[in-house]
């Protein structure tokens, strides 16, 4: 894939998140999901609306990775977590706290960070 081609939907979402305007997709039955998406994965509705991403979430599970893919070679060890933001969960890298202090239940907010290895943008979680 050429470096100047953007991943439609995903890169736009990162742009928005960097501006503090992250969103998620919601169907009429209030199932939350992440873009890019045309159909609600839970109920099949094609009527999806952008909703503002909830302010804070809670870490539901996490891991500290010591053996990364090459894209995170210089970031290791780093913490990756799944955080529960209410209408949906999302996976991200926990930053602004040393990995050994990450714990389940930690309250976080979404903030885009970058890979130290590649400079690519990464979904990040900062402790509130």
């Amino acid at each position: 894939m050429s470096d100047d081609v953007r991943d439609g939907g995903f890169d736009e979402w990162l742009d928005a998140a960097e501006e503090g305007e992250a969103y998620y997709l919601e169907c009429p039955a209030e199932h939350g999901s992440l873009p890019p998406r045309r159909v609600c994965p839970t109920c099949g509705s094609t009527d999806l609306e952008e909703q503002p991403f909830p302010e804070t979430g809670e870490i539901e599970t996490y891991t500290v990775t010591h053996v990364p893919t090459p894209a995170f070679e210089q970031d290791a060890p780093y913490a990756t977590a799944v955080a529960d933001f209410g209408p949906l969960r999302i996976t991200g890298q926990v930053v602004g706290i040393t990995p050994e202090n990450v714990e389940v239940g930690l309250e976080v907010e979404l903030e885009v960070t970058v890979s130290e290895t590649t400079g690519e943008r990464v979904v990040g979680f900062w402790p509130v």
Binding site: P36, E60, Y62, T65, H66, A71, T80, Q93, V122
Partner: protein, 388 residues
């Protein structure tokens, strides 16, 4: 509906052979399977072949016909890719076509060449079984994703790294007699706990190795087996497949694997058996926690109790239901695209008393094989029975 008979099985040694090509590995496995079966190659009606990372590891797509050629078979050939469940889905399609009477003889199997990529390259290749945009780009690796499930399990049901270590110790113990296994070495609980961490709470010894290898099965319809008087005492009597959301964070539950539950339930009904009828199982233990989740999803252990099954001896060789008598992915090795077929081969050999560990399961008549893809967004389960 016709029974499906396991006429022959063939496995290469699983291990670290970076200079062997996929076609070389698969050819070896198929030669063994055809010899074991007594079925001539020209009787094969279709080839079902599992492979996951061929494009990355060998710059080779379109592997179906290539592998049929390597096996010396001229028949329609299709590659199945479902991450680590690739061969499981290949077996399932073969079973369905054999039952439907579409075909009489199937060559089924899979191969993977991984170690030539090195650890970093293989870690990257394995990671593509996860959601690229929302998991891989957040730094999730394959062990990392299972580590997320392990932590979620500990939080919800309890258990710790020591419990998981017993799974690894058990599976290494079982592999001691398996000459095809990658590791034929005993390990202790302390070895597991002291090994370098890969993705906490999982360490190096909680993880299956990178492996090269291939597996092949010759499956036939009941009619074909009767007509040719094949020595094939074991039948595949149940098949099931389940699916789930791709990304772990999209699942209903982070410490359960509903796709495996669906696949298991379907296979049990299909075979007309109950979980309590299962005498032995090969389950997908790419990581120690994966075996725990599989046992619970397959109703071989109650939810929240699978964690203690190895530690308390329920799944050890002399336990009530031995699990992974082959050594499992953990010790036997996990050439991704070969794994599902190799599990069927091991169960068939265990049930037909043709396995070094058959002595532990003398009276076994029903075996189960569970193959999972990614963090179990795909799963297949097959029931094998001695029916003669």
């Amino acid at each position: 509906m016709s029974d499906v008979r396991v006429a022959g099985t063939g496995l290469t040694p699983f291990g670290n052979t970076p200079d062997r090509t996929g076609r070389d590995l698969f050819a070896e496995a198929t030669i063994a399977a055809f010899e074991d079966s007594g079925v001539p190659r020209e009787d094969v009606d279709a080839v079902f072949y599992g492979n996951f990372m061929g494009e990355l590891a060998e710059h080779q797509g379109h592997q179906g016909p290539l592998m049929a050629e390597a096996a010396g078979v001229r028949a329609p050939a299709t590659r199945y890719e479902s991450a680590c469940a690739s061969a499981g889905t290949a077996v399932r399609d073969a079973v369905l076509q054999l039952r439907n009477g579409e075909i009489d003889v199937a060559l089924v199997g899979g191969a993977e060449r991984m170690t030539n990529l090195g650890t970093a390259g293989a870690t990257e290749a394995l990671a593509i079984a996860a959601d690229d945009l929302w998991e891989v780009r957040a730094g999730a690796t394959f062990p990392g994703a299972y580590a997320l499930m392990a932590r979620a399990y500990f939080e919800e049901y309890g258990g710790d790294r020591t419990d998981l270590a017993h799974v690894a110790v058990k599976n290494h113990e079982n592999a001691l007699t398996n000459e095809k296994a990658q590791y034929q070495s005993e390990i202790s609980v302390d070895d597991v706990l002291e090994a370098p961490l890969v993705s906490e709470p999982l360490g190096l010894y909680d993880s299956c190795p990178l492996s090269d290898g291939a597996a092949a099965l010759v499956l036939t319809s009941q009619e074909y087996a009767d007509e040719h008087d094949l020595d094939a005492p074991v039948a595949i009597t149940g098949s099931g497949q389940g699916g789930d959301r791709m990304a772990l964070h999209g699942r209903a539950h982070l410490a359960r694997t509903p796709a495996a539950r669906e696949a298991g339930a379907e296979a049990y009904v299909d075979a007309g058996i109950e979980p309590s009828d299962v005498d032995l199982a090969e389950v997908h233990d790419c990581f120690t926690i994966a075996e725990v989740l599989a046992l619970e999803a397959l109703d071989l252990e109650p939810i929240g109790e699978g964690i203690s099954a190895a530690r308390d001896g329920r799944t050890t060789a002399n336990g009530e239901t031995p699990v992974n008598l082959s050594g499992g992915l953990k010790a036997k090795g996990h050439p991704v695209g070969a794994t599902g077929a190799s599990q069927i081969a091991e169960v068939a050999k265990l049930l037909s008393r043709d396995h070094p560990n058959s002595e532990h399961v003398e009276d076994a008549r029903i075996g189960l094989a569970h193959n999972a893809g990614g963090t179990v967004a795909s799963a297949t389960v097959h029931v094998l029975e001695v029916t003669r």
